[in-house]
Amino acid sequence: MARFLTVAVNSLLAAGLYAEMAYGLAVIYGVMRIINLAHAGVMMLGAYLTLTLFSGLGLDPFLAFLIVGPVFLALGMGLYHAVVRRLPHGGSTPTMGSLLLLFGVWLVLQNFAYLMWSGDTQSILTGYTMKSVPVLGVRVGIPSLLVFLASGASLLFLNLLLKTTYLGKAIRAVTQNRDAAMLAGIDAEAISALAFGLGCAFAGVAGGMLATLYAFTPDFGRSFLLKSFCIIVLGGMESVTGVAAGALVLAIVENSLAVYTAIPISFQDAITFAILFLALVVLPEGLTGLFARAPRLRGAQ
């Protein structure tokens, strides 16, 4: 029982972290059908900016999002206007060109960081980094708990933004049908720029939060990028609530395997990437697609 509780609590906390990393990717994919390979680079820069704010100004890393968010919103919109806009808009599936282009952007960001901060390992150590509190009898680190709460708040914020504001409705309209949205008078170009900025803002904030849990280098983020892909594929690629569900599935699988099987912890990433591969092949519409398919199958019999 105690073991089950440990798995449950740890899975929930990990799911919060994973969802926080993946929101940005899902927003950008939804609106532009672009797989943002630069996501990892943006998360890494978010980590460095949070560190700079923390060591330079003494700003708490969990309040840094007030600055990191707007900075990366601007950076993302700048990036959109500088390079992404020049790509041909490729219908319903991402183009190879967009993938490779953003891959190039990632490399530039990563190596910019090598030049700026060298390859030394950095970490953010606050007064509460090593403290923990009991949750359901399981000791939980305070930073993990804060990340989980922030992730819940992000989910709420994104759902409110997308469902109740004009901007959010416009983003969803462009997501569903770009041409029809433009006919209805929506400036799809401006919405795309904003969505790209929003995606980068979430990536930057997520990077700052990851930095409170893990040490980082300019190479930071690659395994998190692949985890994020795994999550948005499981989540059906578009909806933010789907992202949260996908994050939960991945976190439960990882934690259960670590506790209930003899598979060593060093294999965890290998298993995640195998799940990514399988999810892409078996569940192209994500978990929601699976549920949508189930009644149809029953009806066919």
């Binding site: 797989i35 390079v83 020049r86 790509l87 041909p88 599936t93 991402p94 183009t95 190879m96 060109g97 967009s98 993938l99 490779l100 282009l101 891959f103 190039g104 952007v105 990632w106 490399l107 530039v108 960001l109 990563q110 190596n111 910019f112 090598y114 030049l115 060298s118 390859g119 300019p218 690659r222 395994s223 692949l226 892909f229 795994c230 060593p264 060093s266 294999f267 990433d269 290998a270 298993i271 990437f273 195998a274 990514l276 591969f277 399988l278 892409l280 092949v281 192209p284």
Partner: protein, 317 residues
């Protein structure tokens, strides 16, 4: 034009084979690296360029070849006799990845190959027969640079010849049809998955041969080196910079990228960040000349042939 290309190719091949008689060890080392780059770029191009299936997981095949060579050599097999088993193993593994993987299209296939590559790297660092993250060493006394040089140069010549033959064959035309319109090709009765698998296996086998020669020349391999993501990246970058889907493109790309790398690695300030240049190159090629150096050259030639007419960027897309 084609005859001129063939003549130039034969001349370069003879020069490369005869180089040990004239050049010093340092230059030959650079040429060995260039030959390796040519093998990797040209083989990747068979699947990535001809068939349009962009894989970012090719270091896996190099690693399989390298590990087969070291592990069999440690059991007393002659290093050069281990090359073929390594190639067969890599080809078999490419089918294992391809069977589920080729159900995915375009960028989804690419993402899946990143997943496979990283999974193999992590797994190889965690199991014992690969020597864990510290790697394994070839048995002593198996090093002879002259033989290694000729081996890699011959493989490079063979790979380019195979790529040229594939491009002109019915097999190559089928791959081109799959790249241009996979649904159209299948409607005409082409079993696209089988052709993709064949292209994948051929290129994986060639890369594994290079991996075996890599192990023989460096005498020491580790998962962090042979399964490195940056290696997979360089393999993709070379054909893209040179001109994806052509025979000459990967050669040009290999020449440009390996020269850049060689020069940059001499500058200590850039040792960690040479990928900066790679990223910039990738962005520039995708935005300005998606057909690479070959496309650029064709545009210049076309401009020279029709004096007065300036080529517009839009024509190249």
């Amino acid at each position: 034009m084609r005859r001129a290309g063939l003549a130039a190719g034969v001349a370069v091949a003879i020069a490369a084979l005869g180089a040990p008689l004239l050049l010093g060890r340092g230059t030959l080392n650079d040429l060995w690296n260039l030959a390796l780059a040519v093998v990797l770029a040209s083989s990747w191009n068979i699947l990535g360029g001809f068939a349009g299936q962009v894989s970012l997981g090719y270091s896996v095949f190099l690693g399989i070849g390298a590990y087969t060579t070291v592990l069999l050599s440690l059991r007393g097999v002659d290093p050069f006799a281990t090359l073929v088993p390594g190639a067969l193993l890599a080809a078999a593994f490419s089918v294992v990845i391809g069977l589920p993987g080729f159900r995915l299209r375009g960028p989804y296939f690419t993402i899946a190959t990143i997943g496979v590559g990283e999974a193999i790297r992590v797994a190889a660092s965690s199991v014992s027969f690969t020597g864990g993250s510290s790697g394994v060493r070839m048995p002593a006394g198996s090093f002879e640079f002259g033989r290694n040089y000729l081996g890699m140069v011959i493989l490079a010549i063979a790979t380019v010849a195979i790529a040229a033959l594939v491009r002109r064959s019915a097999f190559g035309h089928t791959l081109a049809a799959i790249r241009q319109d996979v649904d159209g090709a299948e409607a005409l009765g082409v079993d696209a998955t089988r052709f993709k698998l064949a292209a994948h296996a051929l290129s994986a086998g060639l890369v594994a041969l290079a991996g075996g020669l890599y192990a023989i020349n460096f005498q020491y391999i580790a998962p962090g080196a042979v399964f490195d993501f940056r290696l997979s990246l360089s393999i993709v970058l070379m054909p893209i910079v040179g001109g994806i889907g052509t025979v000459v493109g990967p050669l040009l790309g290999a020449l440009v990228v390996s020269t850049i790398q060689l020069k940059l690695l001499e500058l200590p300030a850039l040792r960690d960040s040479y990928l900066f240049i790679y990223g910039g190159l990738l962005i520039a090629v995708i935005l300005f000349e998606p057909k690479g150096l070959v496309g650029l050259a064709r545009r210049i030639v076309a401009a020279l042939r029709t004096p007065g007419a300036t080529p517009r960027a839009a024509d190249a897309r």
